[in-house]
Every structure is written in structure tokens, then in C-alpha cells.
């Protein structure tokens, strides 16, 4: 392909993680739309491609953390490791015939709505694209957040983020600093404690940690799931509804919250004998406010002689010397940032330009908003998967992604039935949706729990990342496209060059 040629398709999906692949699979199975999936990296998998750190695993049961329309019955463990999920995604893409739709090493630099042609124009590192429908599934844990530490540039040894683990760095015999004690660090620390000469964990705020209870599935259990009709679906359903019950712990049902807190503090007490260390690991905010970690080996690991917990932030670096906010100094050979992601300010938003050339990042300068958590006023024919208020603190992200996919398929159907070219939500409809979510958010632990977290936008103190209700409510309210509040328009310019006439073959679900 020559660089100046513009590739034109009906639909472009940006991102090939769980969201982009799921969308692609449903499009391929159920429609005749021409579509491409653009991926900036050289492989698919999103989070599970990027995060290969020692101990990487999912916190949602494996049978639930997979597509409902592609159930797998042979998961090795109750909680799948990152590599197993990545393998599942690769297999899914290949077996569903998505590979011809994927364009790797294609970083989308700019996505611009063209009102005259009613098309999105995309500028990428691998040429130009034009499409009618743009689906951004660029992820919420895809832009590494690295704090500004004085002296970082001059640090003597290797430095990397947990989501870009440098496997060429040999940790044996090294003094390793790990910055952060969130979900990633809690998996990393026990996994490297036995290898490194020493590990220092820089902890700004302790996390609540509850028992993980991970286990391998036996050969008999896998066979049961494979051979007994409906067994995988039943297990998945049980796992889902068990997780749903956990939402009571996030909305201040006192009995549920205190029971949850006692489980976490009991876990700490049973695993950490040293009273001083226990004190430094005890959170001072309400459980659930920040992401709750699941681990049976984190506390034992930091009780080990080779691991030290620095209960303050990393303050500065000079050569190989790391100084903590407390003034404590550590000599380090390797530095790992397990400091999370820019989740409430997605980088892609600065690259999307809607009506009147307005950047989505401008539109979202007070925090992300979207009607039905998916469509934004002023940005026609744009759908965002895993964007505003579409994540969960208590259940599977895949449920949310699949809900959004169903919504998008419904919206595309609607556009087709109306013989329209342009679908756009009104600002009033979007505002009403956002007001309602703010109302529901007000009583959740994420806003009342007395912590800062990556769920809340610090510019407006709004809960912009999480859906503030049960996951089933998201499916009820967003799982079916509701055309009220949307405007369907036609294209003024002539219809030219659309690769395939979009038409649905089957109706979903």
C-alpha cells in the first residue's frame, strides 16, 4: 500500500484488546460490514499483551473473564494467568477469522470527523484510513502512568513500568525497588522476592488485601465442563451472580462492608505477625474505595527478610540511591514502576476531533462523559468501548464490554433501518444520563470512602471510570440500543467508495 492512498472501509475499530476483538468477532459473525482493527503494537491482546510481569494474573475467575459467546472449558486455574488469557485471545482472533482484519504497527495519530462526507478520516503511522463508523476500544489500562521523580533520568540501572516488563533484565542478586502497592505490585512482589537479592516496596497508600483462594482445575473438573451439557454456562452464571452480590460492599450496606473489612483485616492479622509492619499495612480509608487486591502470597512475601516495605512514596533518585518521602535511603540496581495507568484521562481523546474540530479531550476536560457510556454528543458515528462509566470494581470487565458491543450493534442496525448515515446523540440526552449516574455514584464507597483512586477524575471529583451500579443494571439499561435522544441524519455528499453495503445477517441474542 502506498502511503498516500486512503483505505476506506465501513467500520474501523481502534485497539485489539478484549474490547476490539469482541467487537470484531460479533461484526464478522453477524454482519457483512467491511471492517478493520487498527493496533499500534505488533500483536493483539491489549492489557494481556502488555502486562507480562512476573505473577501477572486476572482477579476475575477465568470462566467469567472470557467471551460468553466463546466459552472455554479448559482453563488451568480458577484465576487465569496473563499468558493463558493472551493465548485465549489469540486463539479467538484466529479461529473467528479476524486476522485478515487486523492491522498491526498502526498507531492512530488523528481521528477527524468530516461533516461533508459524513466519514471519519484517520491518520496513522501506516497511512490514511476513512470509515463511516469509528469504534474506539483503546483500553483504560493502556497508558502507563509514571510519576515525575527528580533524578529519574540519571538512575544508574534499568527502569521500567510493570506493563512494559523488561525480561532481559536479570533480577537474580539485584536490589530491586518497586514503586506502588496496587494490584500489579501485589502480584509482582511475591514473584520476584525469591529471586532478587532484596526488594523495596514504596507504598504511598496501603491496599486492602483479601484471600485469593486460587486453585488449579483438576483434569476431572475440566472434563466435567467439557462433557456435561450446559456446565460451563452454569458455572459462569454462578460466578457472575456471586460477584454481583459483592456490589453490596461498594454501596455502604453496613453489614456487607464491615464483613468485607473484617475479612481483609483478618487476612492481614493472620499473615503478618509483626505489629509494626501490620500497622503500616493497615489502610485508613474504607474498604472498596481503592481497588481491593486478592492475594495469598503478598503479605508472606513482605514479611520475608529480603523484602522491606517503605511506607512512603519514592521521592528522589541520585545515581543508585533512592530516597523515600520519609527520608529513608535505599541503594537500588533496578527500578520498577507499578504505578498504574492514566485511566481517567485516556490519551486517545486528544486524537479524536468531532464536529467543529473539537477535540474529545477538550470535551472531556472536566472528565469523561458519554451517553449510555458509549456515545458522545458532537462526535457522530463514534462509539467508545471501555470509556466513561463502563468499568466495574466488583465484577467482570468482559460483561461490560459485551454489553457495549450489543449496544453498538443495535445502534448500527437502527442506522441501517432508518436508512441514515449519521447517528448522533443529543447533548440533553447525554447530560441527563450523566446526571443520573452522578446521583447513583454519590452513595458509593468510591466517593464516600475517603481515598483517592484511579476511578475518580481529580479535575472534577466525579466518578468517571466506574459504572456506579450492578453489572446487571448496565446490561438492562445499555445492553439494548434505545434510539430516544439520537438524531439520525443523511449524508449530503454522494455515496462513494464504501467497500461493502452494510447489512446484518442475524439478530444478536
Amino acid at each position: 500500500m502506498r502511503a498516500h492512498e486512503t483505505v476506506e472501509v465501513d467500520t474501523i475499530i481502534v485497539g485489539s484488546g478484549m474490547g476490539g476483538l469482541g467487537m470484531g468477532i460479533r461484526l464478522a459473525r453477524e454482519t457483512e460490514r467491511s471492517f478493520l482493527i487498527l493496533e499500534r503494537a505488533d500483536d493483539l491482546g491489549g492489557t494481556w499483551r502488555d502486562n507480562t510481569y512476573p505473577g501477572v494474573a486476572c482477579d476475575i475467575p477465568s470462566h467469567l473473564y472470557s467471551f460468553s459467546f466463546r466459552p472455554a472449558n479448559d482453563w488451568d486455574r480458577f484465576y487465569a494467568g496473563g499468558a493463558e488469557i493472551q493465548r485465549y485471545l489469540r486463539d479467538s482472533a484466529r479461529q473467528e477469522g479476524l486476522l485478515p482484519h487486523l492491522r498491526f504497527d498502526t498507531d492512530v495519530l488523528q481521528m477527524r470527523w468530516q461533516p461533508e462526507s459524513a466519514r471519519w478520516e484517520l491518520e496513522t503511522t501506516a497511512g490514511r484510513y476513512r470509515c463511516r463508523v469509528l469504534i474506539v476500544a483503546a483500553g483504560r489500562l493502556s497508558e502507563a502512568r509514571i510519576p515525575e521523580i527528580p533524578g529519574l533520568a540519571g538512575f544508574a540501572g534499568p527502569v521500567f513500568h510493570s506493563s512494559a516488563w523488561d525480561h532481559t533484565v536479570e533480577l537474580a542478586g539485584k536490589r530491586v525497588g518497586v514503586v506502588g502497592t496496587g494490584a500489579s505490585a501485589i502480584q509482582i512482589a511475591p514473584s520476584i522476592a525469591g529471586t532478587a537479592a532484596s526488594v523495596v516496596l514504596f507504598q504511598r497508600t496501603p491496599a486492602y488485601v483479601v484471600p485469593r483462594g486460587d486453585r488449579a482445575y483438576s483434569a476431572a473438573e475440566k472434563l466435567y465442563l467439557a462433557r456435561i451439557p450446559g456446565a460451563v454456562e452454569r458455572l459462569r452464571s454462578r460466578l457472575f451472580w456471586d460477584a454481583e452480590a459483592g456490589f453490596a460492599k461498594r454501596v455502604g450496606v453496613p453489614a456487607a462492608v464491615s464483613e468485607f473489612r473484617e475479612v481483609a483485616l483478618g487476612h492481614l492479622a493472620s499473615q503478618v505477625a509483626d505489629e509494626t509492619l501490620r500497622g503500616r499495612l493497615t489502610p485508613d480509608y474504607e474498604i472498596g474505595c481503592k481497588r481491593v487486591a486478592l492475594s495469598d502470597d503478598f503479605y508472606p512475601a513482605i514479611s520475608a527478610a529480603t523484602v522491606s516495605l517503605e511506607a512512603s512514596a519514592l521521592w528522589s533518585l541520585e545515581g543508585a540511591t533512592a530516597t523515600a518521602a520519609s527520608g529513608a535511603r535505599y541503594e537500588l540496581d533496578v527500578l520498577v514502576f507499578a504505578t498504574g495507568f492514566h485511566s481517567t484521562r485516556p490519551a486517545f481523546a486528544a486524537r479524536v476531533f468531532g464536529r467543529d474540530g473539537l477535540a474529545l479531550s477538550e470535551r472531556w476536560s472536566d472528565g469523561m462523559v458519554a451517553h449510555a457510556s458509549t456515545t458522545v454528543a458532537g462526535f457522530p458515528n463514534l462509539f467508545v468501548i471501555d470509556g466513561p462509566n463502563a468499568s466495574l470494581g466488583h465484577n467482570s470487565a468482559v460483561h461490560m464490554i459485551e454489553t457495549q458491543i450489543a449496544f453498538i450493534l443495535g445502534a448500527l442496525d437502527h442506522l441501517e433501518i432508518q436508512r441514515g448515515e449519521v447517528l448522533e446523540v443529543s447533548r440533553e440526552t447525554e447530560d441527563a444520563y450523566v446526571r443520573e449516574l452522578d446521583r447513583r455514584s454519590a452513595t458509593t464507597v468510591w466517593l464516600t470512602g475517603g481515598c483517592t483512586s484511579w476511578y475518580v477524575d481529580d479535575r472534577s471529583d466525579r466518578l468517571t471510570l466506574l459504572w456506579p451500579d450492578f453489572a446487571f443494571a448496565f446490561r438492562d439499561e445499555v445492553g439494548t440500543f434505545d434510539p430516544r435522544g439520537y438524531r439520525v441524519g443523511s449524508r449530503q455528499a454522494s455515496r462513494d467508495g464504501i467497500a461493502a453495503q452494510p447489512r446484518r445477517r442475524t439478530t444478536p441474542r
Binding site: 460468553s68 455502604g252 450496606v253 453496613p254 452513595t443 464516600t448 453489572a471 446487571f472 443494571a473
Partner: protein, 272 residues
């Protein structure tokens, strides 16, 4: 701030009985309050610790522990009278969505057959007409209650929970006052005459592993009602313990719009 900041516990004197109730949630304009009646082995505390505060996020909710009596055999008519009096005092003049679990469904159905205050009805794990099988369990309970409390507990759990649930968990012990009287009413249930008088939009919820009521009872109830929809949950009779969130989901969706689905509609088994 906790969601149940507005939860109040009250005792309502109704036809000579002191009826414990709990009231929670904000009363929103145009939204009917939801009234909850617990099951054969439960109280409002044991059955609705999850459902009450979470349903109260979207509805005004009243849970009612009707007095079935300890020794005397209660009559369905007396319980219907109790409920009418409780509603008259706590939610005067209001149309309600009435939700009955197990034996609570027996009362809820009979109440709805005669009382226009019910705008919509939910029957969870109900019995339409008790059979020899139900009376067998009642006789077993009666003989054990005098001689062997441990055996009675085992029988109650055996019949309440699904095999799948008991395979994975040991439920907490519970000793609920008045269980025998509730069981007597439960196994005398015969609503075959009443169903034709229940015209309100109804949702019947059956439990596929229900060894106490039997899932067929729920299915029969559904097809006997002129204006009912039907949902099924993969659970034993004690669905409120086994699948609390799924029960909440089904009730919340139905209460939001009872006629969203046409009469005779069978809801898709939830496939998350």
C-alpha cells in the same frame, strides 16, 4: 453515608398481632413501593439483609414479618387481613408491588386476588397446590421437632438449598420462631380457586433445583395466571441465600416496568 440511613424498624399492631416491619428507601413520585414477604424458614432480617437495602436504592421498600402464630394453625384469611392492616397503616392509599417468597408467595397471591392495592405481583418459589410430597416433609418436620432438633436443622437445610450449593458451602444455622406454623400453612396451600382472580401483572420465579416447593409448582402457577411472566433461576428453594443478586436483578427489572413483557412471556435465562 450508608444507603440504609433511612431504614426504620417498626412494629405494627394489626388485628391483635404485633407485626415487625422494616421500611427503607426514598419514596419517589410515580414509583410504587415494593412490599416484601419472607419465606417459610426466614424472617425479614434473615431473608432480606441483602435485598432490602439494595432494592431501597431504587424503591421505597417495606418488609413485613407476618405473624403466623406459634402453636395455633394460622388461616390464610387471617394473614391476608394482617397484611391489609399493615399496609393501611404504613403505606395508606398506595398501590404497591407485592413480592412474596415461598410461603410469603402464598399470602401474596391470595392477597392480590382480593385487594386492589396490588399493582404488580412477584411470586418467588411459590406453591400453587400443595401435594402429598409437601405434606410428607411437614410430617417429617413435626416428628423431628419434638425429638431431634439437629435432625430438623439438617432436614431444613437439605430441603432449602440446592445440591450444587451444599456441595460448595455449609450454610449458617438458623432457628426461626414460628417455622412450624409457616410450614403448616405452606403445605395446606391451595390457590387453584384464587388464580383466576389475580389479574395484575405478575412475575413468577421458579428455582430449577427447588426440592421444597418444586419447580413444577412455579411453572404451573405461571401458566394458571392470565397475566404472568416467568423467570427461572438455577438454585434451590433458598434462592434468596443462593442467588440474592439474581433475585434482585429480576425484581428490579420487573418493578421498573411490570408490563414490559407480554403475558405468557418467559424471560431468557440470564446469560452473563
Amino acid at each position: 453515608m450508608s444507603v440504609d440511613a433511612g431504614t426504620t424498624t417498626l412494629t405494627v399492631m394489626a388485628n391483635g398481632a404485633a407485626v415487625p416491619c422494616m421500611l427503607a428507601g426514598i419514596d419517589r413520585e410515580g414509583v410504587d413501593p415494593v412490599v416484601l414477604l419472607p419465606g417459610v424458614g426466614g424472617t425479614i432480617e434473615s431473608d432480606f439483609a441483602f435485598l432490602l437495602p439494595l432494592l431501597a436504592r431504587t424503591h421505597r421498600v417495606l418488609a413485613v414479618d407476618l405473624r403466623y402464630g406459634i402453636d395455633a394453625t394460622p388461616t390464610l384469611g387471617a394473614l391476608v387481613g394482617q397484611l391489609a392492616e399493615v399496609l393501611r397503616q404504613t403505606l395508606p392509599g398506595r398501590r404497591v408491588t407485592l413480592v412474596g417468597f415461598s410461603v410469603g408467595a402464598t399470602v401474596a397471591a391470595e392477597f392480590s386476588a382480593a385487594n386492589p392495592a396490588v399493582g404488580a405481583l412477584v411470586l418467588v418459589a411459590p406453591v400453587l397446590r400443595a401435594s402429598y410430597r409437601h405434606r410428607m416433609v411437614a410430617r417429617l418436620r413435626a416428628s423431628m421437632s419434638a425429638s431431634d432438633r439437629d435432625a430438623l436443622q439438617s432436614l431444613d437445610r437439605f430441603t432449602a438449598y440446592s445440591p450444587s450449593f451444599l456441595q460448595a458451602a455449609v450454610p449458617e444455622e438458623s432457628a426461626v420462631e414460628g417455622t412450624a406454623a409457616k410450614h403448616r400453612l405452606f403445605v395446606d396451600t391451595d390457590l387453584t380457586e384464587s388464580v383466576s382472580r389475580i389479574g395484575v401483572p405478575t412475575l413468577v420465579v421458579g428455582c430449577t433445583q427447588d426440592d421444597l416447593a418444586g419447580v413444577d409448582q412455579a411453572r404451573m402457577f405461571f401458566v394458571s395466571l392470565p397475566n404472568a411472566r416467568y423467570a427461572e433461576i438455577d438454585s434451590g428453594h433458598a434462592v434468596i441465600s443462593e442467588r440474592p443478586a439474581e433475585v434482585l436483578a429480576i425484581i428490579r427489572e420487573f418493578a421498573a416496568d411490570p408490563v414490559r413483557h407480554r403475558p405468557g412471556f418467559v424471560l431468557d435465562r440470564a446469560r452473563p
